[in-house]
């Protein structure tokens, strides 16, 4: 069984707490992304799963085997480092064969497996090249192949695509996903790029400052973020969040955004849970779900900036605290004042003080 259970995992480096009480279950055969900004504790978590670091407290179980005291050489995990850690004094072939050589496999058997993995990762013509002169794209495939050839039940990848150029990244994402599907390994993937996590993962664990923020499928964290951090971090661009107070109006419960005026009425279920809230809230809506609306039926803001990035056009409205981004195809001019409003079902409300989402009843 190759599921991974992290129970009450804590990691401190002297005074600094890198990971605060992490509880997570990674199912057998699942592709789980650990997603978060630099310093959120995702790499530390992965290092502990691999055995490179020891937890300060808490347990790590592979299936039902407690991994305490099991050294990194004995855990049977595949690990791809961010900088690949390719053996630069060996050829590609020797790199791929290393693990099997250490295990003591017969030469012919090693040869066979090396050829197979090289074929799969399109490394066959490069097998006898010395590893120190190869481009980053190739090194990355060698790093993956070197671990994959061991057929580990658990595969850990630490930001493997961050050094690869943008064009190649998209190609490798698909390849990695197919690799995982083909071999059905439990894959844990550390990244700071939410697009990568959304594309590849079965589930995403969003982390910030050593704390797990939310675990869910890509659509779950996108559609129902548990708090403000997740709402902002997931999605390109992240969710718009405006401060305001719930206010009762004829048409229903709205959020009074002060200078920007009032929003459109909230859906009844959401309004119900907010009625007794009273405190300041954050009115959230995703740029992709923001539409141009008729005057008086939304927020009126000037167009500050337009980014045309091929398939998407990101319109930046307003500035500073009241800045809002929207993604729509209509032609707008810089400086022009437009009225925008989110689709009613896409509105999300968060408590301004704690940042947690307030769900509809």
């Amino acid at each position: 069984m190759s599921s991974i259970h992290l129970q009450n995992l804590v990691k401190k480096f002297g005074e600094f707490t890198a990971l605060k009480t992490m509880d997570l279950v990674i199912e057998d055969g699942e592709f789980m992304a650990l997603l978060g900004p630099s310093g959120c504790g995702k790499s530390t978590t992965m290092n502990m799963i691999a055995g490179i670091e020891e937890p300060t407290s808490g347990r790590i179980l592979f299936g039902d085997r407690d991994m305490a005291g099991v050294p990194m050489g004995g855990r049977g995990v595949g690990f791809v480092f961010q900088n690949y850690a390719i053996f630069t004094h060996m050829t590609v072939r020797q790199n791929l064969a290393y693990g099997l050589r250490m295990r003591g496999l017969a030469k012919s058997e090693i040869e066979r497996k090396v050829s197979a993995i090289a074929e799969l990762l399109q490394l066959s013509p490069l097998l006898d090249r010395k590893a120190d002169r190869l481009s980053v794209n190739i090194l990355q495939r060698v790093a993956i192949g070197r671990s994959a050839i061991m057929e580990p039940a658990i595969f850990l990848l630490d930001e493997p695509l961050s050094n690869v150029d943008a064009a190649f990244r998209a190609v490798m994402r698909t390849e990695l996903k197919h690799l995982q599907r083909q071999f059905r390994q439990t894959m844990v993937y550390v990244t700071h790029d939410q697009l990568e996590a959304m594309t590849m993962a079965d589930r995403i664990a969003v982390m910030d400052h050593g704390v797990l923020q939310q675990v869910g499928t890509p659509l779950e964290v996108y559609n129902h973020p548990a708090n403000v951090f997740v709402a902002r971090f997931i999605g390109a661009p992240g969710m718009n969040l405006l401060k305001g107070r719930p206010a009762e109006r004829d048409r229903g419960l709205v959020i009074d955004l002060g200078r920007l005026g009032a929003t459109q009425p909230l859906p009844p279920a959401l309004a119900a849970s907010l009625r007794n809230h009273g405190r300041e809230v954050l009115y959230g809506f995703r740029p992709e779900q923001t539409l141009l609306s008729a005057e008086g039926r939304g927020l009126r803001m000037p167009v500050d900036f337009v980014e045309r990035i091929g398939a998407r056009t990101i319109v930046h409205l307003g500035r500073d605290e009241t800045a809002v981004k929207a993604v729509f195809e209509n032609d707008v001019k810089l400086g022009e004042a437009v009225t925008v409003s989110p689709a009613e079902a896409s509105v999300r409300i968060f408590d301004a003080a704690t940042g947690t989402a307030i769900r509809a009843e």
Binding site: P71, M72, F79, F81, M90, M102, D132
Partner: protein, 320 residues
């Protein structure tokens, strides 16, 4: 383009946060470099090249300080390579050479293995590491002549070494180390190993530290145990440093003199007469300096070959 103008350009470019070496062509830089190193080049010329040529000159003559003429007139005593043919037939020379080779083949590998073992130990933390580090380096700091005298006293029949052996083995040991031909050679080798293992230790420690840690981690994760990691990752990555260390020690050990001479004077008899001792004796006792020059040149050629081979390997290592 004068030097100050070039410097000004460089400074201005740097102050913009731009790349250094800006605004100066390769040719200008090379010319400036030549001019700046001229004093050092002249010095090197004087110290190395001139004596070498002088030595070559004298080695082709029968000159000696007793000849009554200045060395520059040595051509009067031209002997047409006779020194070199004599050298080839000189039994004492060849024995000395043989002894030197034996010393080198024992000492250098011993220093290497000991140094490597100690360096590996020093890769981990242990209590008192800093203290032991200083202690480790002390033998190298001792003046070789002083070390020679120290070991002379240590290896006396009634001296500390025999006392130590007596207490270890249980019965009295009164070995006359420095009077026995074989044991004297052993004593000299022990002294050399004691003094120069720290150098190997230092160089190899630097080499070990330079091995990329993440590659070692990767190897561990792929199932390599400590020995496998050592042989497949650490040692290969240290190849260049190992070559340097060995080359340095081979060349220096070949010339072994100070410590040895103080300890044994080359004795008993010629039992510990290495090539340096032989040259010294011929120079100071027989005074046939022409012949000595020939010996010294022959040794220089041998050691140069070693140095060139080592440098070739270093150049390879830098490309890899």
């Amino acid at each position: 383009m004068n030097a100050t103008a070039i410097m000004k350009h460089r400074d201005a470019a740097v102050s913009d946060g731009e790349n250094t070496a800006a605004g100066v062509t390769d040719a200008e830089a090379a010319r400036l470099g030549f001019r700046l190193t001229l004093p050092a080049q002249i010095l090197v010329l004087f110290i190395s090249a001139f004596p070498l040529l002088m030595q070559l000159y004298i080695s082709l003559t029968d000159w000696s300080p007793l000849s009554g003429i200045g060395w520059w007139s040595a051509w009067e005593l031209w002997n047409n390579f006779a020194n070199y043919t004599d050298l080839a037939a000189d039994g004492r020379f060849w024995s000395a050479l043989g002894r030197t080779a034996i010393v080198m083949l024992v000492c250098v590998p011993a220093e290497f293995l000991l140094g490597l073992a100690l360096a590996t130990l020093f890769m981990d933390e242990f209590p008192g590491k800093r203290f032991f580090y200083s202690v480790m380096l002390m033998p190298m700091m001792v003046v070789p002549a002083v070390a020679g005298y120290m070991f002379f006293m240590l290896f006396q029949s009634g001296g500390p070494v025999n006392d130590l052996l007596s207490s270890l083995t249980g019965f009295p040991v009164t070995v006359a180390w420095l009077s026995d031909p074989t044991l004297a050679l052993v004593a000299v080798m022990i002294a050399d190993i004691w003094q120069w293992t720290p150098l190997m230790f230092l160089i190899l420690l630097a080499g070990l530290v330079g091995v990329p840690e993440d590659q070692i981690k990767a190897a561990t994760l792929l199932g390599a145990n400590a020995w496998q990691r050592f042989t497949t990752i650490v040692l290969p990555k240290m190849k260049t440093i190992i070559v340097i260390a060995l080359a340095i020690r081979v060349i220096e050990n070949f010339k072994i003199f100070d410590t040895l001479y103080i300890m044994t004077g080359g004795g008993p008899g010629v039992a510990t007469e290495t090539i340096s001792v032989y040259i010294y004796k011929v120079t100071t006792q027989d005074l046939i300096w022409g012949y000595v020059a020939a010996i010294a040149l022959a040794i220089l050629v041998v050691l140069s070959v070693v140095a060139v081979l080592a440098m070739k390997r270093m150049a390879q290592g830098r490309e890899a």
